[in-house]
């Protein structure tokens, strides 16, 4: 009895030592051997701070938005769910008074009053969702894009409560049966995780413009906010633009020319 306990303790001690020493050994190992080197794609589109300008003057009716929403949702395998409660939206349209809450007034001109506005993740400068997330499953990249790690998300939905723009959706059920035509280039999601617009980070990485930009006939422009010669800076300099709920200080990166 005594003997076996002693040998057990010995074994346990050695195991613990081994486990404790492993990270140290790993560190040595990694300094010696060359791991796979990662080269950035030469064609990738980069920016110090990505931003988007939506020229709402170039839209006339709801039909103008359909190809934009469809392009985004198709490329990203966003499911079409019939139950309203389970709905998932990356980009969608709504009225001025809902997009720019508490900014409408009785005598708003007819065009703005009846024109739908595009709504999507604002990729905030100070994203409340990133601050709330308990696992850093949602995070802000250096270039300002707010992303989701679908495999780390525990589905607590704290980010959804935190987002002041209602830009996040939750997979209340398995979305895969509701993806009409699967795009193999982009992952599908599983039930129980949060998702949202990713500024087409996967497309920028291979030198393509975001899907909504491509489908917008020039009404949506993305570019580098920190580059004084960029197209977005040019648009911002020459047009009056508004952002959603600027008083919250989140610093949304989506600008609207009204």
């Amino acid at each position: 009895m005594k003997n076996s306990r002693r040998s057990f303790l010995k074994l346990a001690g050695i195991s613990a030592l081994g486990l404790g020493a492993k990270p140290v050994l790993n560190a040595f190992a990694s300094s010696d051997e060359h791991g796979p080197e990662i080269f950035p794609n030469q064609e990738a589109l980069t920016a110090k701070r990505w931003a988007m300008v939506i020229d709402t003057r170039k839209f006339e009716s709801e039909e103008d938005f359909e190809p934009i929403v469809a392009a985004c949702h198709k490329i990203h395998n966003v499911p079409k769910l019939k139950e309203k409660r389970h709905k998932i939206d990356w980009i969608w349209i709504d009225d001025f008074k809902h997009v720019f809450t508490y900014q409408e007034h009785e005598f708003l001109d007819d065009r703005v009053k009846h024109l739908p506005f595009l709504v999507l993740c604002n990729h905030c400068e100070k994203p409340a969702c990133v601050r709330a997330c308990p696992t850093r499953a949602t995070f802000k990249r250096e270039d300002g894009i707010v992303l989701m790690d679908f495999h780390r998300c525990i589905g607590c939905r704290f980010c959804m409560a935190a987002c002041p723009y209602g830009s996040r959706s939750f997979n209340f059920r398995d979305p895969r049966p509701f993806v009409e035509e699967e795009n193999k280039e982009f992952p599908t999601r599983m039930k129980g995780v949060v998702e949202k617009c990713n500024f087409c980070a996967e497309r920028l990485a291979v030198g393509k413009m975001p899907a909504c930009v491509e489908a917008s006939n020039g009404a949506i422009v993305v570019g580098d906010l920190h580059d004084p010669d960029s197209n977005v800076r040019d648009l911002l300099k020459n047009n009056y633009t508004i952002r959603r709920k600027p008083y919250l200080g989140a610093g949304p990166a989506i600008y609207y020319i009204v």
Binding site: E83, K84, R85, H86, K87, I88, D89, D94, K97, H98, V99, T101, Y102, V119, A128, R131, A132, C133, P134, T135, R136, A137, R152, C153, I154, G155, C156, R157, F158, M160, A161, A162, C163, P164, Y165, G166, R168, S169, F170, N171, F172, R173, D174, K191, G192, V193, V194, K245, L248, G249, A250
Partner: protein
Amino acid sequence: MLELAIKGGKTYWGWILSLLTIIGIAFIVYLWQLDFGLGITGMSRDVSWGFYIAQFTFLVGVAAGGVMVVLPYYLHDYKAFGRITILGEFLAIAAVVMCLLFIIVDLGQPMRALNVILYPTPGSVLFWDMIVLNVYLLLNVVVGWNVIEAERNNIGYPGWIKVLAIFSIIWAPAIHTVTAFLYCGLPGRGFWLTAILAPRFLASAFAAGPALLILLCLIIRRVTNFDPGREQIQSLAKIVTYAIIINVFFFLCEVFVVFYSRIPSHMDHIKYLFFGLHGHNALVPWMWTSMLFMVTSIILLVNPVTRKNEKVLAFTCVILFIGTWIDKGMGMISGGFVPNPLHHVVEYAPTLPEIIITLGVWATGFLVLTILFKIAVTVKEEVSGV
């Protein structure tokens, strides 16, 4: 001491069995939720937290409320409460167990729950909530168990237990403060974005927790040979009185600020809850019932005649508990999400499976509570030789 929990009469086992039945049914429904996803609940993109998180919030309060018997005994040497501190500690354990279970059943990916520890994120309030709740659970388990064991062996409890007990007194407000911070730090939700939220949570906690404890004391007196004591119950009643008055006062402060300033993003939530908004008014009758119950309980508690009558006091505690439960367990969460950030009014109501799972968690809590109270009361009976 656990063996004390398996010696009981027919009523005891009947009660345990009925709790186990509810737990069993709820567990099957939970397996369904695990398989299908949270889509079997009434939650949506707009109201993304519902009944589960509401119960969690309310029960953190009940857990913190347990401190109201521990504090007077350890800090003010109020001897009378020495008889029932163990009940407060064990109630806290059962309540925290329910809180943790409500968090688990609310997760979309519960198997990944440990990611919170694997990728610790001090910037997230949820990370801190996980810490404070688990530490509070541990404190109450260690303190409660050692105190009741010492009592059984007719010896004083070790000195370090008192240190831990005092630590748990500081810790109790912390758990509910951190829980309030989950909500009141969020920029876009006018209903929660108020500094009075944490104080309000604490006031309602210190009313609901001790009110439940009074009810439990009255039940214990009836079904066992241990009498928690008339003085003890009356002292608890006074604590409940002040706490519920402060709770309603804090709420009225909020109402003043919101409606005198007339800022729509803050007004609309309270309007929705109490009067309905754009024709949506599912919660209106509930909220007025809650108010009526809380105000009635104040009247019955302030008046010494009604407070000293234990039958009336029991009734008062029941309506107070229901009133605070509606206020926090239903209105507080839905109210924050309706209207949504785009100012659409999307209402929420729990579904049947959601309610069954909720009942299952409550039943688990009461199972833990029953076992712990059974142990505590049996020890008390042994010691007093009845």
